[in-house]
Symmetry: C3
Subunit: 210 residues, 3 copies
Amino acid sequence: MTTEPPLLLALDLAGTFAFALNGALTAVRAVRLDIIGVLTLGMITALGGGVIRDVLIGAVPPATFRDWRYLALALGGGLVAFALSRWLGRLETPIIVFDAIGLSTFAVIGASKALGFGLGIGPAVMLGAVTAVGGGTIRDTLLGRVPTVLRSELYAIPALIGAGLTVAALRFEVYGLAAALGAAAACFVVRMLGVRFNLNAPYPPGTTGT
Amino acid sequence: MTTEPPLLLALDLAGTFAFALNGALTAVRAVRLDIIGVLTLGMITALGGGVIRDVLIGAVPPATFRDWRYLALALGGGLVAFALSRWLGRLETPIIVFDAIGLSTFAVIGASKALGFGLGIGPAVMLGAVTAVGGGTIRDTLLGRVPTVLRSELYAIPALIGAGLTVAALRFEVYGLAAALGAAAACFVVRMLGVRFNLNAPYPPGTTGT
Amino acid sequence: MTTEPPLLLALDLAGTFAFALNGALTAVRAVRLDIIGVLTLGMITALGGGVIRDVLIGAVPPATFRDWRYLALALGGGLVAFALSRWLGRLETPIIVFDAIGLSTFAVIGASKALGFGLGIGPAVMLGAVTAVGGGTIRDTLLGRVPTVLRSELYAIPALIGAGLTVAALRFEVYGLAAALGAAAACFVVRMLGVRFNLNAPYPPGTTGT
């Protein structure tokens, strides 16, 4: 993380906080969980993707365990969501928006870090997407739901777009704060358009999407 | 593991055996599984937490794969549970007690090992708890149940207490067999009190615990 | 992978392709998933076992992320299955056969690689089996099903046989293409016999297998 400009670190931390809010709110809505369950699910959602990424590129212990800010933000996000769950928990919009923020920032940071650890273009894009969807996938699996990444509404595609733009910017040596924010914004916009218009990727021939 | 006194190694091995019994008995009770399913679930419960810990701190191959005693005890515990399932399987108490033993010893060993690999205080406590609850969480997930750690009855809290006491003892340089056993006992007692009196951590405001 | 003869690499790649076909077809049959969900599940099934193996032996980034052929075959297998799902998806046999092929080749390659990384005989056999069943286990877990490896029909046993024969051949220094193919064939035959005659491993005393 030390090679990232400070504002990209801020992006990563913002994504961590957003995912923690999302995970904790999802926990409150989905099943009745006590505070430990809510905080645990918030932390898993926030930290899961980055931990998977770091384990796969061999950057262990994961950044999450070496930089107290990640743990603190993941815990803080869960606590905020727990305290405000009566208000936030009824609204589906904050859950989706927080998730899209985490998805966008993690796709960019994940792809950038993967490339920095020597992965090729294809694997770096894929690892960016894995970073973005990893935490939410663990969250859904623990709650006994088929993960969002499999159920569509354009979830993996925006992550791949964000990661792809990041890798392209790095390869053409135009990567910087503007490029990172642009890649994250592209991911965010595509994701929110998918949610707003209920867009889905194509279904297998002979089946329907309803 | 070589820096641990012999009796702490014994603690770790005892936890492995207890978790294997627990996992295998859970398998027998939860779904009809054949012997391979029962043994597999016993081994996953027994070895999962330690494997996650070792992967996260970079101690690969995990101790589990380098020390035959872990594999043997995990397998042996599963075989014992399989053979005695007709008697043990009907009783909920042994499952809970074996689980609490594994939880306690793994929280202590996990926190101690994490600190030894250079993690900070907060991450070491968290990793101790992850070591303790990891195997059972995988067990529940594979069986399609929301993991105990999320469903409460004070499951994560005793693990955090055991790990926290361990880290405190190490920091104040009073760690030894007595401190390790004390930390494990504290975890065990809190866990069993939680089960006995059906204690739960606080629920989100506006929801009820029933 | 560089120490493997070319035809063993081919075996590994064939297993990857077969597992991708299997995972994608399972996705089409099990739940209505869009193309991203189908491809994701195909890739997870194809690459999951090898990634787990490489993470556990410390060979990170996993071969999957360093050799573009694995990613390409996993993606290609998923695309083929998606395109042909109308025909293949109705048939249960191709799903089972592709799965058995992946199971067989991955058990052999996994055990061979684990031994090459210095694991002992027991752990190498176990890691071979983990490589073989890992991807399918993640596939089933994400789909909310109790994994095949727990539900029997002789799934783990053939993998252990294939891995065991591989380790034996390596220890007696008769390992080569013939031995690898023989071990894989043994695994495949046992698995298919199990499916054909609906064989199961023993059930716990006092319960029945129906």
